[in-house]
Amino acid sequence: MSGAVALALPRPSRRQIWSIGGGKGGIGKSLLAASLGWQLARLGKRVVLVDADLGGANLHTCLGIPAPSRTLGDFILRRVERIEDVMVETPFPRLRLISGASDVLGAANINYQQKVRVLNRLRSLDVDIVLLDLGAGTANNIIDFFLISDVSLLAVVPEPTSIENGYRFIKSALYRRLRAAAPTAAVRDVIDAALDQKNAQGIRTPLDLLAAVEREDAAAVTRLRREMTEFHPRFVVNQVRSPADIAIGHQLVTACARHLGVRASYAGFVHYDDAVWRAVRQRQLFVARDPDGVPAHEIRHIARTLVEGETMALAW
């Protein structure tokens, strides 16, 4: 559980790391990453998509290209020295890919030093945006990539399981960040206890956690609260079918603020469209195949919103 904050390296003004996490598999996260990368490239950004789903990489399939012969795993295992050597062109201008490492046994459990090396090299790439497609689940590797990102996107679909996992993801990420900032072992112990949902202290939410820490160490609370304000996940609601589904994004933001004390925002939504899945089966990138379709427009809107640093605020 160490090192989440130590990974927060100095941020150059132009180059940014974005990530898409989601807690749950099968919610279209890789497709979102691929199409968001495509739209960002269309907006003139030089983008490299990184398949950071180290256990089940498939971003290349979403882009409609064969599995690259060299992957992030080769870089991690030092079969190649430079990260540029595992970066491949895609059929789309300004969009490149670093494929995942599903072929490398054990790569899903890279250690701390390997992680730092990957992140340092990603930050040094000569591009505008590094877009990480994170794997499913809440493993520390995934959370750390999420935490170091300049833009941390959290994909959900309007289904109970996905939203429950989304909250779990937020809590795991936030607790990891708070733990790294905890000034004393006693405070770390409280945070560790909170990670167990059935903890004896009755800590269910980050706000409960702050109250428990305050009882232990009043001075530490100020610091943890500051960490909380700097934690800023952005929701993308995928596969919406109705205005009520679209409203879920706004509800998640309010629920995070009121019940978790987390300052989230709503980056946008994408409608469910059968054409997307038909394109996937044909191993084509659906936004490129149908750039005037509704999902393509919606993803363009998300890309623009994020590039311009805006959010979908409610109208009051």
């Binding site: 109970p160 879920i248 933001v253 309010t254 009121r258 300052r263 605020a313 409610l314 009051w316």
Partner: protein
């Protein structure tokens, strides 16, 4: 977990200068959030907590929707600012009465307008009520039913009204939309 004492304004996530329309909209949002079926809170709150939250929302709305009761309530508060909550940085409470007007990139299409409206959670009937433009015409605008749209001089006014209610900058929105549909007529 939740703040000990919350004003009715804080419960609905609005500022004390909120208009009646904003109160209605905030109420719908909050009521949806704590609905028994609400996906956004089902795994965060148990049934009893949701029920309590709903009761707070209803209590707030009963007062704030009624001009007389709202005035009385404001006086009882001394119109002080909202009570500070435990939430480190609440994004909605104390927010300015309205976010700045948005200018969509050119060309503005009917589906663009619809998408923006839906993202703000504003039903067409609300635009109709505020603008006196019928729901049917608003639907024509969104679906770009060129055969059914009125003459440009009226259409410009309709689109500007639509834009104003959803929070888009009326003038450039109408200009871009009209330029686009003029090409299709």
């Amino acid at each position: 977990m939740t703040p000990r004492v919350e004003t009715h304004y804080a419960v609905l996530g609005i500022g004390p200068r909120a208009t009646p329309e904003q109160v209605d909209r905030a109420y719908r949002h909050a009521a949806g959030l704590y609905d028994e079926e609400a996906l956004a809170t089902y795994s965060l709150l148990d049934s009893e907590e949701r029920q309590q939250a709903r009761a707070r929302v209803e209590a707030a709305y009963v007062v704030l929707r009624d001009a007389g009761r709202r005035r009385e309530y404001d006086l009882s508060l001394g119109m002080a600012e909202t009570v500070a909550s435990l939430v480190p940085s609440p994004p909605v409470v104390d927010a300015p009465a309205r976010p700045p007007l948005v200018v969509l990139p050119d060309p503005v299409t009917g589906p663009d307008l619809k998408r923006f409206r839906e993202s703000r959670g504003i039903p067409l009937r609300e635009i109709a009520a505020a603008s006196k433009v019928g729901v049917r015409f608003l639907e024509y605008i969104e679906s770009e039913r060129l055969d059914a749209l009125p003459a440009p001089v009226y259409l410009r006014g309709f689109v500007q009204e639509y834009a104003r209610v959803v929070g888009l900058d009326p003038r450039p929105t109408a200009q871009s939309y009209l330029a686009r549909v003029a090409g299709g007529r």
